[in-house]
């Protein structure tokens, strides 16, 4: 019983989440439409319906706060729908704030928290005021043919008025439908007519005399001339008649000026936003012209429609961000509440299909096994078995891929939320930003999407807050006044790349380096030899920020170091490129799925370990004579750079059995090695490792062996075999893991430890290898962190402020 209601609750969350997400998308579209001056009434209707559904759902599950918010919103949306209230930026702010609140309410509901949410009461109060003020909105009664008005619903009447207000020509379409196929016919007509205009209403014509068919009169508003419309609808047998206007002027004379084509217009598929009411000292024309009705507007009646009614939202609403204190406006998280994945039924069908195939193979196997008893059939049986084995293998692989596919969700889910967040941040920061999204359809593991949402949000916030300059500054530099942020995603082999790029001021490398030196993170000598990339990568170091004052938006105690850590945890890497006054681009590269990853299997004293290949840079032989001791740590020089070593056997307290362990790895030559570890630099291929490996830049000195471990001493024994160094890299830090042998590369399915082993550092989990043995999967970033933690803590104490 409880599990059933649990399941129902889970369903509720995932459904509500889905609706809220859809709502957010609709609002973004509405926001864009409002700016372009033409709001599609259907869009408002969609938003209304979504809120209505949410109200019903919330009521069903006793989520009272959600249902009261929905109720109030519904009232506002109804007014919008009926044209009693105009779609304006402040109204949209209220709606966006509501969507964000829905997220919070869902979270609270999920955690069964009852604590008050102050923003909710504020918002409800605002909605109240809004609705009250809106009552006087479209008060001036429309003067249209009373007979027509009598049959129009309030919504249709509003649509009619809107069309008139926009100076659209009204058309009367007549079309005859067979009763049997009227549904399809209507759908087709709607689809065909939609691009040309707005269908206001359908009315059955009074002269219908046929029993099997019906003639409909359709009232439609359109900007297109009648010939275009006629051509488009001709094949459906539609008669098009233009309704005459009073005054007899040509229809297009009354048209409003075309919506201004701003720079945003090019990004048609992208969601764009900008704001009209940003308090900037420069009196700049708002980027969007309000859709004022053209003055000579004689519609069907005698008196003009009163479309210039007082603004339904009084002045106090114009600045929503000020009326809600900044604290309350905290963005929270954009992770979704729902744990479930809603799956396309087709994907499941495919999986089910493979399961069916597998069952057939199994039956066949049973039959063959039965046959095996008959020794005569041996040859045939063998062949059949081989064939079956192949089929089996294929199906298992497809099944595996199919299940992985089910875990995948389009990045668009998180991008939509990012777009909302961006709209809000840019409003708070008083900057105009145009967001261009590409690759929203790229699929990524659901788990990765969830884990990624917060880092992405942080980067988005940085891009707006630190990257994009003020309008004045941009104009002074000759840049477009509206900043652009590009959010791109694309697949690249087994990886997904996500880019966040802004055309802002860029990262000042000198200041970054200066600060790093001041904080003791970089020695003055090192600073001279650092490459551009290394300097830029400093922003991932804890405590570094180029922004001198911690802003309200960014000052949340997390920085790019946290972003980096979180992305590393997902097996991903982050890179940054920046040019002064041109912009900054963050590139996040992630594995497509967490479930299966490629790993390098290594052996340390007879125990096998898996190291995710994402963390492996290369694997080389360890030249023991090149090992030096620096600062009490073993290190070697690899191609001119110092590489700290970490003896896994020592770290894990495993006996060094290299002398008795098998010969694996010993006979590997360089080509084989690079095959095992494809991350290995190409320079390794085909060349003797002995020369390419560690160059003994520092001759081995016996005096230093005193600090060398037992493992090392054993390794130094004459009979000992060579060991290998697996170079792992996390950001700019590299660590050489010393292992006994390399076993090979394998796809592994990683499984997390239970709570009893949660606190064991250095392992990401375990995996079952092909031979059924279990190998522990190393958490390379954690190991690197651990090995560097000590020295860095010591350095950080010289001065480190947190912020950014």
């Amino acid at each position: 019983m409880t599990s059933e209601s649990e399941r129902a609750r889970e369903e509720f969350f995932s459904e509500a989440q889905e609706i809220v997400e859809g709502l957010g998308r609709d609002l973004l579209a509405l926001d864009e439409a409002q700016k372009s001056g033409h709001v599609d009434p259907d869009l408002i209707n969609d938003v209304f319906r979504a809120v209505h559904t949410l109200k019903g759902l919330a009521g069903l599950f006793g989520a009272t706060r959600m249902s009261s918010l929905s109720h109030k919103l519904e009232e506002l949306l109804d007014d919008l729908r009926l044209g009693k209230v105009d779609v304006t930026a402040p109204v949209l702010d209220l709606l966006f704030a509501s969507v964000q609140l829905y997220g919070k309410l869902l979270q609270a509901e999920k955690e069964s928290r009852d604590q008050p949410i102050p923003e909710l009461d504020k918002l409800l109060a605002q909605l109240d005021r809004g609705a009250g003020a809106g009552a006087g909105g479209g008060g001036g009664g429309p003067i249209i043919d009373p007979n027509l008005l009598a049959v129009l619903t309030e919504f249709e009447e509003h649509k009619l008025k809107t069309n008139i207000a926009q100076g659209n020509t009204l058309y009367r379409l007549r079309v005859r439908f067979q009763l049997a196929t009227i549904d399809q016919g209507l759908d087709e007509l709607k689809a065909t007519a939609k691009p040309h205009g707005d269908i206001i209403t359908y009315l059955p014509a009074s002269d219908t005399d046929d029993i099997d068919s019906i003639t409909l009169e359709i009232l439609m508003g359109s900007r297109a001339p009648s010939t275009t419309l006629r051509n488009a609808l001709n094949h459906l047998g539609v008669e098009v008649e233009e309704l005459p206007r009073q005054g007899g002027g040509p229809s297009h004379a009354a048209m409003p000026p075309p919506p201004p084509t701003s720079s945003t217009a090019s990004a048609s598929s992208a969601s764009t936003f900008s704001h009209t009411n940003i308090p900037t000292p420069t009196p700049s024309p708002p980027p969007v012209a309000p859709s004022e009705p053209p003055s000579p507007m004689p519609p069907m009646g005698s008196a003009p429609l009163d479309m210039t009614a007082p603004h339904p939202f009084p002045a106090p609403h114009l600045d929503t961000s000020a009326s809600i204190p900044p604290k309350a406006q905290e963005l929270g998280t954009i992770k979704s509440v729902a744990q479930t994945v809603r799956v396309d039924i087709q994907k499941l069908d495919v999986l089910m299909n493979y399961v069916g195939e597998l069952s057939i193979v199994r039956t066949e196997l049973d039959r063959l096994l039965e046959k095996m008893r008959d020794a005569q059939a041996n040859h045939e049986v063998k062949n059949n078995l081989r064939r079956l084995q192949r089929d089996f293998g294929h199906n298992v692989k497809r099944l595996r891929d199919g299940i992985l596919e089910v875990r995948m969700v389009p990045l668009g889910q998180v991008f939509d939320k990012l777009a909302r967040v961006a709209r809000q941040i840019s409003r708070q920061a008083g900057k105009q930003v145009n967001l261009v999204i590409t690759g929203a359809e790229t699929n990524v593991d659901k788990l990765i999407v969830e884990e990624l949402s917060d880092p992405l949000m942080h980067m988005m916030r940085n891009a707006i807050d630190h990257g994009i300059e003020d309008r004045d500054a941009r104009e002074a530099m000759g840049k477009p006044a509206i900043g652009t942020i590009a959010l791109n995603a694309f697949q690249k082999g087994n990886h997904v790349v996500i880019e966040i790029e802004d055309d802002g001021k860029g990262i000042e490398m000198e200041r970054l380096l200066e600060k790093a030196i001041r904080m003791g993170l970089v020695g003055p000598e090192d600073a001279r030899t650092m490459s551009r990339r290394e300097v830029l990568n400093l922003i991932f170091v804890p405590g570094l920020s180029t922004k001198t004052s911690v802003s309200e938006i960014s000052g949340r105690g997390v920085g790019m170091d946290v972003v980096k850590t979180n992305i590393s945890k997902l097996g991903g890497v982050i890179d940054v490129q920046s040019e002064i006054s041109i912009g900054t681009k963050f590139t996040v590269t992630l594995p497509i799925t967490l479930a299966i990853l490629k790993a390098l299997i290594v052996k340390v004293s007879d125990q096998q370990f898996a190291i995710p290949l994402a963390n492996v840079q290369e694997a080389v032989w360890l030249d023991l004579s090149a090992v030096r001791v620096i600062d009490g740590r073993d290190a070697v020089t690899l191609r001119g750079n110092t590489l700290q070593l970490c003896y896994l056997a020592r770290l894990f307290g495993l006996a060094d059995t290299s002398e008795v362990s098998g010969t694996d790895g010993f006979g590997l030559d360089a080509p084989q090695l690079s095959q095992i570890a494809p991350g290995a630099r190409s320079s390794l291929r085909g060349e003797p490792l002995r020369q390419q490996g560690y160059s003994p830049a520092f001759p081995y000195r016996p005096a230093q062996t005193s600090t060398v471990s037992n493992a090392m001493k054993n390794a130094l024994a004459p009979r000992s075999k060579r060991k290998f160094v697996v170079v792992t890299a996390v950001g700019t830090r590299r660590l050489g893991l010393v292992v006994d042998s390399l076993v090979g590369q394998q796809d592994v399915v990683i499984k997390g430890f239970g709570p009893s082993l949660k606190n064991i550092a250095g392992f990401a989990g375990a995996t079952q290898l092909a031979d059924q043995r279990i190998a522990l999967v190393l958490d390379a970033p954690a190991l690197v962190e651990e090995m560097f933690a000590h020295s860095e803590r010591a350095r950080m104490t010289h001065g480190g402020t947190h912020g950014f």
Partner: protein, 189 residues
């Protein structure tokens, strides 16, 4: 596996003799306990808490884990942490024999754990009246783990051929005293 356990318990009741069975019926249900050997003592835990008894399989050690964690095994694709009950209870450790088993338990309902035991003996049905609440009298570290002491000796003495055979084989276990473990306390520590 649950059905296996049930079968075992039935046989245990049968060997306990008709008289005992009748006694049980008179006294009411009683609780089933699975008895197992750790080092040289007989311990028992409620059957209801034990999900499965696994034969020994390779246990992958986990470096840096507490010493009482032997490592992990894979049970139908799920990773299970195996605890060495002997170490957890600070008993002496002997060689691992083929009789060793891993009991799967989930007393808290948060994680299935494997408990390594030297040998699984049998199921006893014990009524509350069979159990002495002597834990507090024992003192020492083990006191907290012990839910009680049972002496099903009379019932056992009737004819437990298997147990006698075991005794004869030199593995001394005196089923006259069974230490009932409070798994929740054992595993929480």
């Amino acid at each position: 596996m649950a059905s296996n356990l049930a079968r075992r318990s039935d046989s245990a009741v049968v060997v306990a003799g008709q008289k005992h069975k009748k006694q049980l019926r008179d006294r009411g249900q009683g609780t089933k306990y699975l008895a197992f050997r750790l080092a040289e003592n007989v311990y028992a835990a409620p059957v209801a808490l034990i999900r499965e008894i696994l034969t020994l399989r390779p246990i992958t050690p986990v470096p840096r884990a507490p010493s009482s964690i032997m490592g992990i095994i894979s049970v139908r694709g799920q990773l299970v942490t195996v605890l060495d009950l002997r170490r957890r209870l600070r008993l002496s450790e002997g060689p691992v024999t083929s009789k060793a088993r891993i009991l799967l338990v989930d007393p808290m309902g948060v994680e299935t754990l494997g408990l390594f035991v030297d040998e699984v003996l049998q199921v006893y049905r014990l009524a509350d009246s069979d159990i002495e609440q002597t834990a507090s009298a024992l003192g020492g570290e083990v006191a907290g783990y012990i839910a009680g002491i049972a002496r099903p000796a009379q019932a056992q003495n009737q004819a437990d051929a298997k147990a006698q055979a075991r005794n004869a084989s030199g593995l001394r276990h005196d089923a006259s005293v069974i230490i009932l473990l409070d798994l929740k306390v054992v595993l929480a520590s």
